[in-house]
Amino acid sequence: MLDIITGAISLGLLWAVMTIGVFITYRILNIADLTVEGSIAMGAAIAAQGITMGLNPFLATALALAGGMAAGLITGLLHTQLKIPALLSGILTMIALWSVNLRIMGKANISLLRMNTVYTFLESFGMDKTYAIIVLGLLLVLALVSLLYWFFGTEIGSAIRVTGNNPHMARALGINTNTTLILGLIISNGLVAFSGALIAQSQSYADVQMGTGSIVIGLASVIIGEVLFGRQHFFGRLTALVLGAVTYRIIIALVLKLGMPANDLKLFTAITVAIALSLPVIKQYLNPHRFREVE
């Protein structure tokens, strides 16, 4: 049982990086970006291929980050320069990335068994792999949350936040909303690919299919985080995402342990997200006398 929990925590920490990426587009930029389904697999593909070719795993992971940023840039350009709706721009990049990822890997999946990964150096201190993942995951997540807290407090970061909140006002205040949108998409997809690289190394394989449904997992984690650990303050909101991603993994581990077939997992996640997203409507329906507008 303890194994299941620690396993879920380790996986949750790696998915937390992806969750933060999804949060940036979904909550901050106010667009549903489906690029992530492609960029998470892209991150895995680049890292796995890099490591197989003998690159330092940290360098391979950094390349994965860069690859994801490029994917975000493409979606951003499709949306802002060619005026394709955000949702469709993301879908186009996602579909294109499927082929790109197959080209990167040369086949549908790559095994990383018995190869050096970013966790190897911790394991060499005699640490079990799961604990190595938890330690590195915690360090990375902590660094990331601090970095993003700082970044979104800066002038550029505030400009990105206001773009999602009120683009008319942003432009009236001299903010080029195309630039801020592209910047947000680059950061988001960079993080998602980074997360994909970390996940691939933790499970010792990369698969072109690993992105399928990831957006829903990301959304589920965002929503679980907000509902259970939500705070007003931005630092609190970022931490809540990490806790949400970990909680999601623990819930999944538990329902699987209770005997739910693994094939039903995506159905279960989709239903959870649908219910969570419709909570405001359900609440209002149950309480017809309260017509307060919810932001």
Partner: protein, 264 residues
Amino acid sequence: MLLVKDVCKSFFPGTINEKIALKDVTVEMQEGEFVTLIGGNGAGKSTLLNCVAGVYGVNRGSVYVDDIDVTRLPEHKRAAVLGRVFQDPMMGTAANMGIEENLALAYRRGEKRGLRWGITRKERELYRRHLERLELGLEDRMDIKVGLLSGGQRQALTLLMATLKKPKVLLLDEHTAALDPKTAQRVLEITQQLVEENNLTTMMVTHNMRDAIKYGNRLIMMHEGQIVLDINGEEKKKLTVEDLLRRFGQVSGEEFANDRALLS
């Protein structure tokens, strides 16, 4: 300070839905002038303002601010010299951000945004002093989300944001139309106060004739995409609502007669 020269603007040109919003409109505003822009629905008042702001490009003609041709500049670049308040109180502020965050964003209008912290302690003092003068009690809760404020409070805040960094031209697009009469009055008083203190060149769209007469030192009336009346100075001071209604009737009546004459 502002020169709109021979500006034409039509929507959906070349289609059956073509709508000509501005026909060769020329307006020149001197520094410190406060123009109230009045006219019926579809007269082209808001279109004119949006063409100045860069929300719409023009089909023909040019726009100059302080002798600089801004006709081809995108909206966010023109923002460096323009302060704007919209009709919808939701449009001028970011609901999910705090009062001081909104002000800090406005304080950087036209500046290059970098990796410096988005708001400094020194600025907070400045914002507090400005907010105090609005007399809305906002200075004591500068960190609350703007979404919690009333429409009137949000418009007053937007006005402050538009003028925090002195604009070359202040554009007010029916900024009191969505408010109740009492709040609208208060927001207009604040407008007057800010315009006078900063000696702002202002263009205020309104469809309230009384306000158009009471505020500003020049009045422009538009009808069907053209300027049909332009009065300032003593003449404007003596103007009454009845005068304005009569002039409006004359102008639109003549227009109508002309159309008929053309058709027959």
